[in-house]
Symmetry: C2
Subunit: 453 residues, 2 copies
């Protein structure tokens, strides 16, 4: 099997690069046409891999691509999930090379979506091709590649509910996460949830002269800053009433297991170019970024942001704010708590508005399941090392939805690295990781089929 | 004389409209050509009014236009100051008509610069024409119209220092301020100073995934918000150490005089569309906007501000912050206090930078001077009411410079109104005010010459 991968490695790479050239940004409507082109490309790739069929399903938003290869109904069925949409690429000026013109440098593929998630889900298409071509496919395979993961998978719930039979499976395999290092394989057993809102603070009905009115009329920017600042106390705890009510602290054992993962603070700081870390008091960096909830401003704007100076007292200020959630917190409830609190702390001198963007539930998977064991064996075989179970800080709203609608757990067997700069300029994905994934996935199928016997 | 104004009123208006069509925005380099066109137009207008000469003087920035009419060296000389540059017009979408395509609606001229300061300094050119045409000029007149008032008059100091003899005068007359109402004339006897800075807060060396790093790495936007919020306490007092050291509280008498000016809070709120006012505890709105210093964020930006949601933990955040100053505070000292404080409160997890933009000293003029008396008599004659001395909240850096370099006080005899929306969309200037100014200015010259006898 590895011979087949070896013989086709250049084509496997070029096919991915072609997909990376399509700017499929789901958040920005001006890329609508590219979203469709990307879906078409994914459909074509699944068919070329040898699937029985592949189709594009329209939704209220961006289309979902579904394909399958059913070799024997009596064999276990694995549903592969991935997403062909990518994060916006701006700020473009911080990219060393154009985000949608992939280049290979020091054994890495540089492009928006190289790792998240085009590079990772495409590994599954190439793994499928490999298993079919080498007659080593041991399970039935279903693939669902969506186009709205980066904007909250808003329409996927409707799709999944409407196609429960089509998506019927024994387990779900997803590659959209990272390993600790190329020589330290790991599997994510948990993900944080997400609540994302946009807020607006409005003062006077027009921009004002800061000399004539300054000091006597509310400045929406100053007030937005005060409101945001007030939402965390001096220990980095979030002050929204009820925010932590559902949060369960990990046991000493769980904390030790979590913190036993290799982590070099100095290297971490060096990589990020920071003198010091920060965060919620009483927790380690690993905990702060995986098992603790957060509140981050993702964007803020207001007043005059052009060249030079303008002495304006602006009429309004806006911010995009997201909160990462941990098990038992629900995106809907936290969104309500945030909105109620934000409105309650607004002074009478301004009017505020909170607009929810999207959310997702947190997720945890057990490490004693057949599918986890299969992933563990697969990685152990391909990496030569037993993978470490970790908790991820990101969010893949879909996994909670799968559990709820399909009654199945998802296995997060990703192959990315922290240095991949997901959502950042110069996103990249290692060639080692791309090929290692294509090599590991068939091993998952092999072990899963055996364990299910 | 008023006959002459009456006979030429349409031309007086059309000449101003032509000037308003030139987008002379000094803050934005893309309007550089328009700045020169505006200077040329001003020079031409001064010559057509009958001046002996008018010239354009280059500076390191935008040019200064100077013109003069010397009728008799033994007569007093009045220096007219004004500025042909205007504030940026954005946000353009909030204008009911294009900012540089002036329209007349309900007896008002709508355009950027209609009042600030094109409409107001152009009154002086038309007043000069009127006095010369009607043989009623009683003083020598010098005019200096600059192009950098809205960006701090950075190069005017050099110009004034280099041309002390050229600018030699007995007093300076400026129309760049407002009256309380068309039936309540007033003269500004004080102005606030200004310190304007731009700040930058930098966290990680690149934008990060808010899920992978959120909670463990500093978010520059959250931190900028916290730093800005911390610069005012719950009473609206500015917390920068030493900020108030030089501020002298007004005497009970001065406060009473100031607060005796007509002010209708309900109408004020209604005009601004706000439910409540705000500001420094223990002071009235009139005091907060004229004799008390301020700290306002004029612009803020950071992270993702495009359509939809991007879960990014941004690398940096920026803000433009200005402080209005009152007598005895100096822009340079306050700028240093701000910078030192801002750097001192920055947490170790970020790096901060403060870039001073421009500043200006506060100013106060006595009400017992010959020139104030002349302005008082002129307004009393044209409005039929004695003007009320007021303290303005805005800043005209040049007046402090004049006092320092030319040893002369300035008289701020402006004709605008609060409803003129200076620096805002839909700036306007009343036709009544434009013509009332042209009518009042010659009366100032008349009374000034008599009082100086």
């Amino acid at each position: 099997m590895n011979t087949y991968i070896e013989q086709n490695k250049d084509r496997f790479l070029n096919e991915l690069l072609e997909l990376l050239r399509i700017p499929s940004v789901s958040a920005d409507s001006k890329f609508k046409g590219d979203m469709i082109a990307a879906a078409e490309y994914v459909k074509k790739s699944i068919l070329q891999a040898g699937a029985d069929k592949a189709e594009i399903y329209e939704t209220a938003g961006h289309p979902v691509v579904y394909g399958e290869k059913i070799i024997d109904p009596s064999l276990p069925t694995v549903l592969i999930y991935g997403h062909y949409d990518v994060q916006p690429a701006d700020p473009y000026d911080l990219w060393d090379s154009p985000p949608f013109e992939p280049v290979i440098k020091n054994e890495r593929i540089y492009a928006r979506g190289a790792c998240d998630d085009k590079g990772q889900f495409y590994m599954h298409i190439k793994a499928l091709e490999t298993m079919i071509a080498t007659g080593s496919l041991t399970c039935n395979v279903k693939m669902m590649i969506e186009g709205e993961e980066e904007i909250g998978s808003d329409n996927l719930e409707t799709f999944v509910k409407a196609h429960r039979d089509l998506l019927k499976c024994d387990t779900i395999l997803i590659s959209d996460t990272s390993i600790i290092a190329n020589d330290v394989p790991s599997i994510e057993t948990g993900l944080r949830g997400l609540t994302y809102v946009e807020v607006e603070v409005v003062g006077a009905n027009r921009d004002l002269h800061s000399g004539v009115y300054g000091g006597g009329v509310a400045n929406p920017i100053n007030i937005l800053c005060e409101m945001i600042a007030s939402m965390k106390d001096e220990n980095g705890h979030i002050t929204i009433p009820g925010f932590y009510d559902k949060v369960v602290d990990l046991s000493e054992e769980e904390r030790n297991a979590l913190n036993s993962a290799p982590f070099d603070l100095d290297e971490y700081k060096r990589d990020l170019g920071i003198d010091d870390i920060t965060g919620e008091k009483g927790y380690t960096t690993i905990e702060r970024t995986s098992v603790r909830p957060t509140l981050d401003v993702n964007g803020i704007w207001g007043g005059y942001i052009g060249e030079g100076a303008k002495t304006v007292l602006p009429s309004k200020a806006n911010a995009k704010i997201s909160m990462r959630l941990v098990p038992h917190q629900t995106d809907k409830e936290i969104c309500e708590l945030f909105s109620r609190h934000f409105e309650s702390i607004a002074p009478a001198s301004v009017k505020v508005k909170v607009t929810p963007h999207h959310g997702g539930l947190p997720y945890v998977t057990p490490t004693d399941s057949v599918e986890y064991r299969a992933a563990e064996l697969a990685m152990e075989e391909s990496f030569g090392k037993k993978p470490i179970p970790t908790r991820g800080g990101g969010s893949i709203p879909i996994v909670a939805l799968f559990e709820q609608e399909l009654g199945r757990k998802s296995i997060l067997m990703g192959f990315g690295l922290d240095i991949d700069s997901l959502h950042s300029p110069n996103e990249s994905y290692g060639l080692f990781n791309y090929y290692k994934g294509i090599e590991t996935i068939p091993l998952f199928f092999k072990h899963y089929a055996e364990l299910k016997k």
